[in-house]
């Protein structure tokens, strides 16, 4: 496999204005949902992004998918800047990047037969004749383990896991090279979750796909990813190869997250628990946004913002303790 860069994100920010007013609205503040993040994913690799709710991970997914325009920064997908795409070029870009989202109950149009759900991208992009499209849809269903004889049923006749399979079939229909997975298994039961994760990994192998997987569940992300980024209040605080992150977590937040994730083994006991709660993104703390909860906080942390530093090859962290 060549080390070809699939997605490169440079200094990406997305700020949402907060407005108030009954008749005339005025901007009273900004939420920095995503604040100056950078990462890159090589072809065939999987980057997992973990973080708690409101840390900006879903906004990141929307930006990479071109559903939202960034406030600043660049997203370069196979040589093209997503933010600059418009009209025809954006339409073409859609063929390369597809997505699977969290809630299998909300990600399929309840009024359409699953055959139409799976073939809609093909119809919109006019790939082949209607007969070919129909055949392709059945093949895709078969591929993800749905009996093609059920193609004329509606989504409500399927269970959560099956719906997620249908959503995956749809994402694959245009032969994309990149798939964005936004919490793909968090709405599923444990035994179904394993089925879907296995399916995703098989498909990645088979079609040499590049994944960007977003989840709050560190164990799931660790299981499928080659690299992991940890997000806190709109920023990536640590980015490293998956194995390295678990063995040698550097940022205090990463350590806290690892300690807080309950492990399904009674011998591994919960370690130190992080105090306090995530501050409001409308009013983030100065300096390092993590400093009010940080066990290793130094006076300078309150005022100085940190840049990412490469500690070992491929392992970046944004913390004063490691900025040599």
């Amino acid at each position: 496999m060549t080390k070809e860069i699939s997605i490169e994100v440079k200094g990406l920010s997305k700020h949402f204005p907060v407005t108030s007013g009954v008749i005339f609205s005025k901007t009273v503040g900004v939420v920095k949902a995503v604040d100056n993040i950078s990462f890159s994913i090589n072809h065939g690799e999987t980057l997992g992004i973990v973080g708690e709710s409101g840390c900006g991970k879903s906004t990141t997914a929307n930006l990479v998918l071109g559903l939202d325009k960034p406030t600043s920064g660049q997203i370069i997908v196979q040589g093209e800047d997503v933010a600059k795409l418009k009209g025809e070029s954006l339409f073409k870009f859609r063929r390369k990047v597809q997505a699977v989202f969290q809630d299998p109950f909300r990600s399929l149009n309840p009024r359409k037969k699953i055959r139409h759900i799976v073939s809609e991208p093909l119809m919109v992009h006019k790939v082949g004749s209607s007969w070919q499209i129909k055949q392709k849809a059945l093949e895709l269903l078969e591929l993800v383990g749905i009996n093609p004889q059920r193609a004329d049923l509606y989504p409500h006749e399927f269970s959560g896991g099956q719906r997620q399979r249908i959503a995956i079939a749809r994402a694959l229909s245009l032969n994309p090279s990149i798939i964005i997975l936004d919490e793909p298994v968090s709405a599923l039961d444990v035994s179904i979750q394993a089925q879907i994760l296995n399916l995703l990994m098989d498909l990645r192998e088979k079609f040499s796909l590049t994944f960007l997987i977003i989840s709050h569940d560190l164990a799931v992300v660790e299981h499928v990813s080659t690299h992991i980024g940890v997000m806190y209040l709109g920023r990536i605080v640590e980015l490293s190869p998956a194995a390295e992150l678990y063995k040698n977590p550097l940022h205090p937040y990463t350590r806290a997250l690892l300690a807080a994730s309950p492990v399904a083994d009674p011998d591994v006991k919960l370690k130190a628990v992080l105090e306090g709660e995530v501050p409001s993104p409308m009013n983030p703390p100065t300096g390092c946004t993590f400093h009010p909860r940080c066990p290793d906080c130094k006076p300078e942390c309150k005022s100085r913002e940190h840049k990412m530093h490469e500690i070992t090859p491929g392992h970046f962290v944004s913390c004063l303790n490691f900025s040599s």
């Binding site: 394993a194 089925q195 299981h223 998956a242 807080a260 083994d265 709660e277």
Partner: protein, 329 residues
Amino acid sequence: MQTSENILELKGVKTYFSTTKGVVKAVDDISFSIGRGEIVGLVGESGSGKSMTSLSIMGLVPQPAGKTVAGEILFHGEDLLKKNDEQMRQIRGDKISMILQDPMVSLNQILSVKYQIGEVFRYHDKSILGSLKEMCIGVLKKVKVPSPELRVNDYPFQFSGGMCQRTIIGMGIANGPDLLIADEPTTALDVTIQAQVLQLMKQVQEETNAAILMITHDLGTVAQLCTRVLVMYAGRIIEKAPVNTFYKNPSHPYAIGLIKSVPVLGRKSDRLYSIEGQPPNLLNPPTGCRFAARCEQAMPICTQEYPPEVSLEADHQVSCWLFAEKGEQ
């Protein structure tokens, strides 16, 4: 069972729902007991009937469709199913209390926190013990809500999710219950907040020595908190074991599959084990073992007759033909 005194004992409890399509057997013949100071985990996937089990104990099965039709629920040896509404009301919130899953919707958004905590005292004649406000502040202090004197007058929408769940836990333990049922208490919370709440519950348990029935789908939470595990599948309990035995040496094929299908941090494998298929419909559950259709080791008898509960050790029971006499034929 392993402790001398059982706080709660369920014997053959069945809770059914009548719908126009037929009877849904949400809880079908389950028996277990909880000793003083134990933390018991009731594990199962969505739809397995674990929430209905807890509502059956509370006597709060949604009426009129649902009803506990058979069995005994013994609390300190007295059958809760034989109590009238007023007697149950006095027990609820005092001797038995419960924590619900989503803290943001289980508090009434338009009543103050003070009022809602106060209800626990007011309706169990505890208000003579002191000023209601002081007692409410005490509750918030116990569950470590910051600056309780000020926050007590707030409304739930001014609290974060974690604080709401702390408040609910506080209400649950306010009257020193013997049994606390926690129905997915951390599912709606973020990872770091979840850890705080779990730690709080453990601490509370140590202080009050209340028994906790922890209902969850998260095997991680169970491993961290519980002393004993009950596994529920499609309305029935299929395995009961101490927590160490359960994780090290599970017996029922479903329990084995469940444990193997969870990704564990730091133990990356290429493939997860996965149980193929879907749980059965509780409207018309299969006559035999309910897991038979998904089981790799299914035998002919599995689809014909429900397996009896077999004791492998003193406190390790399993309902599976692999361990029962007839199954070896």
